[in-house]
Symmetry: C3
Subunit: 131 residues, 3 copies
Amino acid sequence: MDTLTVKTTARQQFVDITMQVARFIADSGIANGICYLFCPHTTAGITFNENWDPDVQHDMALNLDAIAPQRPDFRHAEGNSPAHVKTGLMGSDHHVFVENGEPVLGRWQGIYFAEFDGPRTRKIFLKIVAT
Amino acid sequence: MDTLTVKTTARQQFVDITMQVARFIADSGIANGICYLFCPHTTAGITFNENWDPDVQHDMALNLDAIAPQRPDFRHAEGNSPAHVKTGLMGSDHHVFVENGEPVLGRWQGIYFAEFDGPRTRKIFLKIVAT
Amino acid sequence: MDTLTVKTTARQQFVDITMQVARFIADSGIANGICYLFCPHTTAGITFNENWDPDVQHDMALNLDAIAPQRPDFRHAEGNSPAHVKTGLMGSDHHVFVENGEPVLGRWQGIYFAEFDGPRTRKIFLKIVAT
């Protein structure tokens, strides 16, 4: 198991980690397989999204804020319940295929670390299995 | 890695791909394993849902429209930000268990390709690993 | 493939299944690998969330009720469309890494069975693969 570190700089932020994942895959020496990702945090997740126009991440953040706002009936004393909800919606565990030593992604697709309670220094766990 | 092709016929549509996935599994000759799916698009995803009553897909689409509508503050110039949001909510990467050469699904469960910016011709990537 | 059974006691309920998953992993004798989970129901899913303050689960449930309420335009005659929507949002298929015979989770992270149409007796399918 390997670990990526991501330093986020805002409360809510989508950080493109595609290059870091690609480097991990290249370093593994595995040509064909599956690369698994796991985010061990409860207020940050991982998602796939468009990596061409940054406005897509802006709009995703805006929509997540709209459906997971601070709510008057929330009880969690830390005040970051929206971040927990968003994490559940994006997911903590993902996988990407590996072919020819590279992650298989669509033309406009990137892998994003999704920070919902930053800024913080975060970890992503990785495993790769040959297929 | 193998590829399924799905032609969608509407802007938003849930297409039952269970039979196509089952055929891929059967053709692989693997009796017991895990079948992985990956959708390389940023405005379409994959999800599991009830395959008995089509009204369930109707209601899922209705609810996704309600929580990911066109919003006045969206910036993405292509105008399909709701499709990007819905894709993030449904997910691009999924797996299903394989036993006795067949996908293991619940009695009412099907595998759905979730189109959010159609109609288009779409791809789903597949891998199967014996366990 | 192995099966966990979960008895839920409420309509909507997050049940911490971390210990059951950890026991399955220990019993497998596999030290390092990936444990896959699959929920074969269409009105219940699996998610990762904070396992320290139960208020986080309360707030997650509250937020899911807010974004997937009973809607007047729903058609599904069984009346449990909100449960189908919530299941799609949380996901049916997940994985967790295994190191030293234990699931790799963050300090505050647990694995939750997410009941949305209970109370019922439910199943979770499990597979573990050495890496």
